[in-house]
């Protein structure tokens, strides 16, 4: 069954009503995106496909908790975020993203400008090569912004942090990228 004319939220309604085949369409729409997200966030892991499969299983199990007045995409990315962070914690056998001063104190509001969009493609190409050298705390919002094309508000919903903190983390991630490029004798200027 193909629902190319339907929105994600409309398909979710069908799944909630018991239409199992409609869930196939949701898997089809998000599988490649979540695989890309997991590979960029977790790197050389052999179990990224298993993790993505677990994300879909959890999405199906908990689909009745999805509020249809909201957008589906941040909801499934939130499940993926939890799954990937747990996998990362197991690997590092330590807590990551514990109490964070970025989310504790208010931050100046960071807004997206037209210049940012023109810079996006240029930055994403450079970022792709050096993602591994960036701290996961900054890496994740950068992946969602530069590769998954989410805006700050959607990233805020996925990571459950204030919108201003998303802006601060992306800015710090970019600063780190500049440092890395400088160390490699590459000047980060568009």
């Amino acid at each position: 069954m193909i629902h190319s004319d339907k929105t994600d939220e409309q398909i979710v309604l069908l799944v909630k009503a018991g239409d199992i085949e409609s869930f196939r369409e949701l898997v089809d729409r998000y599988e490649a995106k979540l695989k890309r997200y997991s590979r960029k966030f977790l790197f050389d892991r052999s179990d990224t496909d298993d993790l993505v499969q677990d994300v879909f299983i959890k999405a199906y199990t908990n689909i009745q908790s999805f509020d249809n007045s909201k957008i589906f995409s941040p909801w499934i990315y939130r499940i993926a975020h939890n799954e990937f962070v747990n996998a990362l914690k197991k690997k590092l056998s330590s807590r990551i993203f514990s109490l964070d001063l970025d989310t504790f104190f208010p931050q100046p509001v960071a807004t997206e400008t037209a210049d940012d969009f023109s810079e996006k493609e240029f930055t994403s190409k450079l970022l792709d090569k050096h993602l591994k050298e960036i701290d996961p705390k900054y890496r994740e919002p950068m992946i969602l912004y530069f590769f998954e094309d989410m805006d700050y508000r959607e990233i805020s919903q996925v990571l459950e942090i204030p919108v201003s903190t998303v802006g601060v983390r992306i800015k710090r991630g970019k600063d780190k990228l500049r440092e890395i490029l400088k160390d490699n004798n590459f000047v980060y200027e568009k």
């Binding site: 499969q53 989310t103 459950e160």
Partner: protein
């Protein structure tokens, strides 16, 4: 081709697992129940925090600290030794528990943590203050002082002494107040 195979396997695995009943969709009532339990838990923890604040007020009232307190070193020392610090720490812990219970809601995580903690503390203190305005005899804080329930009973005994003995003295004081002056003399 390989990608196509992989793609099919994930999709097919999930759909087959659903059809064979290996994966179940949790029913809507499960999530409704979770929300109701969360609201109940938040209410219980919130009122427990207000109760503890009221209890702190009662302990300080019984030590007459509100009348005796001044900014002299002696007054400050008295304040420091009179405050039931364990109860204060317990109240702070309950505020942290409140935060953990509500942190997944959008209206909470969208705000900086400092604002949320400040808001929660202010709300608890404000409600505690309002309760105190309408409950000058600390009826809320006195809950559990007679029946000696677990935790609350020993807490009253530890900070306020033997309540039965205290009540006997209070009753005696009230009788004395009602008696005509000439009879007492």
């Amino acid at each position: 081709m390989k990608n196509n195979m992989e793609h099919k396997s994930i999709q097919e695995n999930i759909i087959e697992s659903i059809k064979s009943g290996k994966i179940h969709m949790k029913p809507r009532w499960y999530f409704m129940l979770k929300i109701v339990l969360n609201i109940l838990l938040v209410s219980v923890v919130f009122f427990a925090t207000v109760y503890l604040l009221s209890f702190i007020g009662l302990v300080l009232h019984e030590k007459d600290l509100f009348n005796l307190f001044d900014l002299s070193p002696r007054g400050m020392k008295m304040l420091m030794t009179s405050i039931p610090w364990i109860i204060v720490m317990l109240s702070i812990t309950l505020v942290m528990v409140l935060y953990v219970l509500v942190k997944d809601h959008a209206f909470v995580y969208k705000k900086p943590l400092a604002y949320i903690l400040f808001g929660l503390v202010s709300l608890v203190v404000l409600i505690g203050f309002v309760v105190h305005m309408f409950d000058v005899n600390f009826r809320l804080a006195r809950i559990g002082e007679d029946r000696r329930p677990p935790v609350i009973g020993p807490m009253h005994k530890y900070y306020r002494g033997d309540i039965k003995e205290k009540k006997k003295i209070e009753r005696f004081d009230r009788r004395m107040e009602k008696m005509p002056r000439a009879v007492i003399e």
